[in-house]
Amino acid sequence: MSRKKVSSSVISLAHGAGGQLQEELIDFITKNITYKKVGKGIGVEELDDGATIPLEDYEKEIVITADAHTVYPLFFPGGNLGILSVCGTVNDLLMMGAEPLALTSMIIIEEGLKFDILEKIINSFNYKAREANIAIIAGDTKVMPRGTLNEIIMATTGIGIKDKKIKILDNNLQPDDKIIVTGSIGDHGTALISSREGLNISSDLESDLALLLDIYNILKSDINNNYIHAMKDPTRGGIASALNDWAMKSNVGIMVEEDKIPIKKQVNAVCEMLGLDPYTIACEGRALLSVDPNHVESILEKIKSTNIGSDAEIIGQVKAENSKKVLLKTIVGGTRFIDMPLGEPIPRIC
């Protein structure tokens, strides 16, 4: 997925928003790395949720994932930076089919941050990691002069382990697979936008921020049997980005049905008012799964039996035709494409 040329001379916020521009930035950074994987493991090139280090003579391999977390405001409806820093990284491990073991944490703090804010964030971080039984085994801290960053950034590395034979990968979707989403989409991004933009939107909407551990645990046998071909948490760029990424990497078409995609009324209302596309809005506690059609019903049932997956739905299927494209059957029965989002969602004029 390389994009040859860089389209502007400076990096803009849109380069970090999970769309086509972000791909361009990643390509710019990674194109000159010459040594990019360990043995037959998954490396930088796959641009998957994480990488693997196969252990010779063992049936298992180590899974590694890295994620830097920055959020404004630091405390938002349904979570904070500390919880996000655990969930974001651990969910990436789970989406590779790996059992999470440990985290490292790097904290970069802007001069002037109050200790009681740091304490709240660290407490949340520790509490969430403990809840998931994940050790925090190493870390580093830096303080930067005022004005060089916004309050605090946390970067975590996740370390997990999985059987070598488990292949849950972005390039592993099969024609006829069914696509499941584990809950309503766009809650996180919309809750943040509502609390951020000075719009005075009063809503009870909370971020969907959550560990996907319960879903991973209940699906362990399906994961081991390779009934689940791909899993992905649709964070930045939302399901539009995740589905397009899958279609491109797996060389398949994906058809989803608008009236099956769970979206909360509040999310729809905020998005329609601001001219935002809910399919491009981030989730932090949802997963998309591409699943063997013969096992989709039992898998859906298991997901629905968990707290975080009670609103799960089958939203579409994988097709051999329309390769590398994502199509939507709209609520009135028309058909259109879902495009890879461009960058930062921008509200429109009217």
Partner: protein, 363 residues
């Protein structure tokens, strides 16, 4: 047929019923039909819900110049960019305006270089920024059709702080449509007119289509079944050899429009001959601030003049796309050289722009 309550406007069964009647009418009319809408939000609805995939292929629906961001001349954006370079200036405007390429750069590029350019939801937010930053000049780059004019007019009337001013780049729809219909060889069988603009100005300015040019005209809302109902209402007129301006969007649009908003527009602004990007100068096609409120006119306050500007870059077909003469995919630059990341023409930027909508929803 009875008009639905809003709950039916996204209902698939209702859609199927309307499509069935449309097909029946088309069969009776027995010729290919071409309709034009003149609103970016209508194009958005049509594309977002895949309505063209539901309609018989003999019914063509083309886009007219309905994107306020697209028709804003490069010279006006250049003006905002020039002013934005000053250390004491904060430029504020609508979100989809900031990425539109002007003669050299866009406001977004100016922002990335360090200028203070802020996205606001409307002029009220800009006035608030002015109150909060008394040592800065806060300029609202005020664009849009009749839909956004009253908001700006209201703020100007309400005595905003003296460090607030606007670049007035507002455009008026009816004059542009008359130019289009009188000059074009488009052979349009009917118009779908913008419900938002009609909400403010009422039905009367749109009657010119049906009265003078004898083309059926429907004021339509923005839900998928609104647009399909408008198409049905147009076909019905064609079949009955009628040409009237009718209101599909009666749940919102009053025949006389919003009289309070009209009064504000009249009090603060006056119509003026005005350039439209890609279309040219249009008599009474835009607005300027009346002298009574000249202290809020950034043009007069800062005396900025743009000598040379370029609306349509070489190779770009936005001027043809805007008047429905070309589909975006018929432009040589579309998707290949011109993308939403690297927009060459204005129609590729705004979510109301035809090229941008085609890029997003069509392949």
């Amino acid at each position: 047929m009875e008009f639905p309550g809003t709950q039916h406007l996204r209902n698939k069964d209702f859609t199927n019923k309307v499509i069935k009647i449309i097909k029946k009418l088309l069969k009776e009319i027995n010729k290919p039909i071409k309709f034009m809408h003149v609103c970016g939000t209508h194009e958005h609805t049509i594309s977002k819900y895949g309505l063209r995939t539901l309609l018989p292929k003999e019914i063509e629906v083309v886009s007219g110049p309905g994107c306020p961001v697209c028709v804003c001349p490069a010279a006006d954006i250049d003006k905002a960019i020039e002013l934005g370079k000053r250390d004491d200036v904060i430029i504020t405007t609508f979100g989809d305006m900031i990425r539109v390429p002007a003669t050299n750069i866009s406001l977004a590029e100016l922002k990335a270089k360090g200028a203070d350019v802020r996205i606001v939801y409307g002029p009220h937010d800009a006035v608030k920024i002015a109150s909060d930053n008394p040592n800065k000049e806060v300029i609202f780059f005020s664009i849009g059709f009749e839909t956004t004019v009253p908001l700006t007019g209201y703020e100007i009337k309400a005595n905003p702080p003296s460090n607030f001013s606007i670049i007035c780049a507002h455009k008026l729809i009816p004059a542009a449509l008359e130019l289009l219909i009188s000059q074009s060889q488009l052979k349009i069988d009917g118009f779908i007119s913008p419900g938002h603009v009609s909400t403010i100005i009422g039905l009367k300015p749109f009657k010119i289509f049906s009265d003078a040019y004898k083309v059926p005209n429907i004021i339509a809302g923005f839900e998928p079944n609104d647009v399909l109902l408008a198409i049905f209402m147009l076909l019905k007129q064609i079949k009955e050899n009628k040409y009237e301006t009718l209101n599909e969007y009666s749940r919102v649009v009053k025949p006389e429009g919003n009289l309070i908003a009209q009064k504000i527009i009249e009090e603060v602004f006056e119509p003026v001959s005005s350039p439209w990007r890609g279309i040219g100068r249009i008599l009474d096609g835009g607005l300027i601030i009346r002298d009574k409120f000249k202290e809020y006119n950034a043009d007069k306050k800062f005396n900025i003049k743009i000598e040379k500007s370029q609306d349509i870059p070489p190779g770009c077909s936005c001027h043809l796309v805007m008047v429905g003469k070309l589909y975006p995919y018929e432009c040589k630059l579309f998707r290949d050289k011109c993308t939403p990341i690297n927009p060459i023409g204005p129609c590729m930027v705004s979510q109301e722009g035809t090229c941008s909508i085609y890029y997003k929803y069509h392949k």
